[in-house]
């Protein structure tokens, strides 16, 4: 398939993702968030169909997907009756920002590694991701304990 042929299906799936997310936000259904993320990711993958080059933009797309999921969760969880402290709002925004920045960094490292050592295969790359994530988790846990 040519790139031009994919525009319509990509646009359709992306629009569906947006509708699902919007409906979830309006009706306050958190179940809509993973479906919307899945559809957006599917639209991205469909758009990349036929390309053999590793796309560096996937790192940003992944981080943006996380950002949208976090913000959507925040919006759905938000209860107007519960008055949050102003500093809690700032702290929560900071946590999301830090998480997205960290995810962006890990993604760039991952895609860089995949581009350099594409021959090692995807299983090894996935294992590397899991190891990196686990390392981050252990560090956070240790920091929390202290």
């Amino acid at each position: 398939m040519h790139g031009g042929d994919l525009v319509a299906p990509v646009a359709m799936v992306a629009a569906l993702a947006a509708v699902v997310l919007l409906a979830g936000l309006v009706r306050r259904r958190s179940l809509a968030i993973p479906w919307s993320v899945l559809l957006t990711a599917a639209a991205y993958v469909i758009g990349r169909e036929g390309s053999s080059v590793v796309d560096g933009g996937a790192a940003i797309v992944g981080a943006l997907l996380l950002l949208s999921a976090e913000l959507a969760t925040w919006s759905i969880e938000h209860d107007a009756r519960i008055e949050p402290e102003p500093r809690l709002v700032a702290w929560r925004a900071g946590v999301i920002g830090a998480l997205v920045a960290c995810a962006l960094l890990v993604n760039f490292l991952l895609l860089g590694a995949a581009a350099v050592s594409a021959s090692t295969g995807l299983v090894v790359a996935a294992a590397g991701v899991v190891a990196a994530v686990a390392a981050v988790a252990i560090v956070l846990r240790l920091l929390r304990a202290t």
């Binding site: 996380l66 519960i82 008055e83 790359a125």
Partner: protein
């Protein structure tokens, strides 16, 4: 503390699993890049999730307040572990509202931090209230896990009705033997002039009325009325009430009872209370401010309890209804049992006055049709009931919400002054 996973945990875990599997199946590193942020968030969130440990205490500066008062309350929190997000809700009873402060609120506590939430509560309605429980929900930093708990605060708050100040209370037909402010109908040692009579052996010389004696050529003495106290029994009908919104006839009756009790206690009279309803409560007559507080405290516990049991005044302890006591009943005249009890009291010779706490303002007359006719019949029956009581020599005056109590008592006073039993 109950731990639970949020829907976000399942969503992120599913996304991570599906993403990695898709990446392996289609052999695309970009899909791994799309998945990694969610996997990272999941791992970080679970790594940072530690069960929160904290204590919560609710404190009130004062456990007693008048209706309409604002009173400060504090919620003291002490965290021994970091609490990244804590939803806190102090349940307020009906009758107590939040005037200022954050409730429910969401906050963050560092390990070892002590925090005091200042709340201003409005005592909106009289009664005995219990604050709490405090509902708490803590989240891990990324909101994958929650810990919920409930802390029983058990802070009691007694809100006293804000009563009218009465300028003049009802005078009973008979007084008691102790000194007080009520001029007795009997003759004896006192200040108020009563009558003149001929001097008799044993009369003190200082009681000789020299002017009258000089005019009549014989010794005459002045007689006077002694100042005595009275026994007043406040009879609150708690069988039934008419209520609309936050106000009902029982609320009015409670406020009126507090006002009347205050007026009589100020005159050094003995005041007692009978709450006649599904649950019978009574308070033997007593003197002084302490008795006023006892009466009001007993009033706070008065509530409508549904009961089909037919009660007569025999169930009231004898010492609660002393002879010659003035019984002031506050009743919406809705339940035949309380009306029967009032007629019975009158038949037994008690000095009785009834303040009819009108349920009419709490009802709406239907526009038309059978409902409107039924409403009119009900209103006419209430009038007939009042006339039945008046024919028995009981002073009855209707008191409607929004009007002052003093004119109603004056109406009762006027009836008692002028009414005579008809002899047929």
């Amino acid at each position: 503390m109950t731990r639970a996973a949020t829907p976000k945990l399942a969503a992120y875990a599913s996304l991570s699993a599906v993403g990695l599997l898709t990446a392996l199946v289609f052999a695309r590193p970009e899909v791994v890049a799309l998945t990694t942020p969610f996997l990272l968030a999941l791992a970080a969130g679970l790594a940072l999730a530690t069960p929160p440990r904290f204590t919560v205490e609710v404190a009130l500066d004062d456990n007693r307040a008048l209706e309409g008062d604002e009173l400060p309350a504090r919620v003291d929190l002490h965290a021994t572990t970091p609490v990244d997000r804590l939803d806190l809700y102090l349940r307020l009873p009906r009758g107590v509202r939040l005037a200022d402060g954050l409730n429910p609120t969401e906050l963050r506590l560092a390990a070892g931090e002590r925090r005091t939430l200042e709340l201003t509560l409005l005592a909106a309605h009289w009664g005995g209230h219990v604050l709490g429980p405090v509902y708490l929900r803590a989240f891990d930093p990324l909101g994958f896990l929650t810990w919920e708990s409930r802390v029983e605060a058990r802070q009691e708050l007694r809100v006293y009705p804000r009563e009218d100040a009465l300028r003049r209370a009802l005078s009973p037909r008979e007084t008691q033997l102790s000194s007080g402010d009520e001029v007795s109908r009997r003759k004896g040692e006192g200040i108020e002039f009563a009558d003149l009579r001929r001097f008799a052996a044993g009369d003190p010389v200082r009681r000789i009325n020299w002017r009258a004696s000089a005019r009549r050529g014989d010794l005459w003495v002045s007689e006077s009325h002694p100042e005595r106290n009275t026994d007043v029994i406040l009879f609150v009908d708690a069988f039934a009430e008419a209520r609309r919104g936050g106000e009902g006839t029982l609320d009015l009756a409670a406020r009126a009872t507090a006002a009347i009790a205050d007026a009589y206690v100020g005159r050094r009279d003995r005041v007692g209370l009978i709450s006649f309803g599904g649950i019978l409560r009574w308070l033997a007559p007593g003197l002084g401010t302490a008795q006023l507080y006892r009466v009001v405290d007993a009033l706070l516990d008065t509530q409508i309890v549904l009961s089909y049991h037919w009660k007569e005044i025999d169930v009231i302890p004898r010492r609660t209804l002393p002879p010659n006591a003035l019984v002031i009943a506050l009743s919406p005249l809705l339940d035949p049992r309380s009306v029967g009890a009032l007629l019975d009291l009158r038949a037994r010779g008690h000095d009785l006055a009834v303040v009819d706490v009108s349920p009419m303002p709490f009802t709406t007359r239907p526009e038309a049709g059978l409902d409107a006719i039924a409403y009119d019949i009900w209103a006419l029956r209430r009038n007939a009931l009042r006339h039945t009581l008046q024919r028995s020599g009981v002073a009855v005056a209707e008191w409607r919400a929004g009007s002052r109590l003093q004119p109603v008592l004056e109406e009762v006073r006027a009836f008692r002054r002028n009414a005579r039993l008809a002899r047929v």
